[in-house]
Amino acid sequence: MASLEIDGVSKRYGDNLILDGVSVDVPDGAFLTLVGPSGCGKSTLLRILAGLELQDAGSLRIGGHEVSHLRPSRRDIAMVFQSYALYPHMTVAQNIAIPLILRRLPLWQRLPLMARLLPQARSTLARIDAEVQAAMEMLGLTSLAERRPVQLSGGQRQRVALGRALVRQPAVFLLDEPLSNLDAKLRVHMRSEIAQLHGRLGTTFVYVTHDQIEAMTMSTHVAVMMEGRLLQVATPSEIYADPADLRVAEFIGSPKINVLPARVGADGTLTGVGLPVSGSVAAAPGTAVQLGLRPEHLILRRGGGRGTVSAIEDTGPERFVSLVLDASDAPVVARVAPDHCAGLRVGDDVSLAVLPGKALVFDHAGARLGFDHPAMTPGEFDHVR
């Protein structure tokens, strides 16, 4: 168990700057998820943490100790790979035992005959065997102990890879998209299994994924990464409700956040949006800004002539209503409970309002701007929610 501090890590491959001064600290026992689109450098950062690549600049501390100069096997980390990377010629039990054997038996005691002759080696092996059995039991692998990886399903291989990592009892677990090769149903199942495993072990986890749902559901800390930079590190709910950057707001949340162009008016109010947004922006009048509105923060009203319904998607528990605002021609999606839009059809005339305090304002480059909003008047929205 250990805290993890990553400080100003940069990495280049040739002329490409893959990581650009990445810094993040998480406390002992955290579940840190690195999330971002493919190719943004997540795996590279994880491999640097593991010691499989060397950073060009920056430092790494595990439990307060600098580890940059240490070999992977000396860093007290264990890693689970996307492709599982099991040893094809070893059984499940051997795959899980190997990191312990390599750590605890000196080379000469690992020779086949030695292990049988030396009482000391024999007792070490017996202890390792007990730990491997415990790990296999925990992961439901006991009946598969003698199989080879080719004889296992994807989910079973995944478990073996987890087992090989957890017998080590490392200070930090590193997982690189461990669920991306599983089918959708198994993925949901393994998601909760890994989250439970984290709860039970209490070890620091660093989990890489491009899937925002995994990031939001499993983590204590989410780090959103794009083009080699960390845009924001925060709890899942903060990332969602209080994004520091428009790209974070756009990456997290499905359907995607609506982005509307707007301008700051004389008294800081927003103008040119095509729907009323109360509040004042901390920016000079006349500044062009971008207004971010989550689909579930929009209130749809029939009539009023502000927009036209262009499509309706019914997912069962809720409906996604796409509409085009008359004022800006911008497409907007609202997330509505079926009861509130029964009988609504494509082509209907609607108007929109924003739940007070939910609008997010960003400058032209995407940085978040302060936005003061008046307190909600009681009863104002009773007729819609």
């Binding site: 491999r47 593991a50 010691g51 499989l52 070999r71 992977p72 096997s73 980390i77 264990a78 890693m79 790979f81 996307q82 492709s83 599982y84 990377a85 099991l86 040893y87 094809p88 010629h89 190997i98 990191p99 390599l102 750590r103 080879r148 990886p149 080719v150 090989r164």
Partner: protein, 280 residues
Amino acid sequence: MSGGHRLGRLARAVRLVVLTIGAAVMLAPFIWGLAASFKPAAEIWSGSLRLLPESFHGWENYTAAFNRAPLGRFLVNGVIVCGGILIFQLIFAIPCAYALSKHRFAGRTVIFGAVLIGLLIPIHVTAIPLYLGFARLGLLNTYAALIAPFAISVFGIFLFRQFFAAIPDDLIAAARVDGFSEWAIIWRVVVPASWPAITAFAIFSVTSHWNDLFWPFIVIQSTDLAPPALGVVYFRRDESGVDFGPMMAATVIVTAPLVVAFLLAQRRFIDGITLSGVKG
């Protein structure tokens, strides 16, 4: 539907016939040699194309073969030389191929280029410089002269590099995290995943050196050190006139170990050529 089926069968029959003819052409000299090893000299020279001997002379030919030349010695030499060559080739080629396929280092492309160039240079080009070198070192007419020139096989390096490239990088990374040293990764992770390639290479190597006449002919004078192919040549030279019956018997004895070894390793050999069977 049934017409297509019949066409498929016809195509298969044609393929079978062509392959059979090809195989027969390739095998004919061996079969003729095998048949001759059971015939008396008069029958071999009779000019008729009979396969089976009229009078069975096998016992005489084979005992003559063993009596007139140290065939056993030739076979032992073959095992020593081919085994020695193969062991050194594996010891050098496997780590080299591993470095070329899984490590990034300055000069990697240049070294691989050198390997490719090495593939193009036949032994006949280097034979004379090598001969002079061994002569200077006083190593002519030794096992070392038979083994050393082949201890590093660029073909082996090339074959293994291609095979190792297909081993997932993650597997190597996992081994490093688990605590394998680089040498242990080679011998305990990469090699066990590469048996098909190693078997294929072993067969190529052993066959070519078992049958090699060119190099032993240059560096070996003593019968005691002659590998099988050279031994058969001595056998012929030592006799006044050519006695084909016993000579064919000797050839059969010398070839048999290879045929048996190939049949035993056949499956892995074919796996290795198609470079499959590594993903797990």
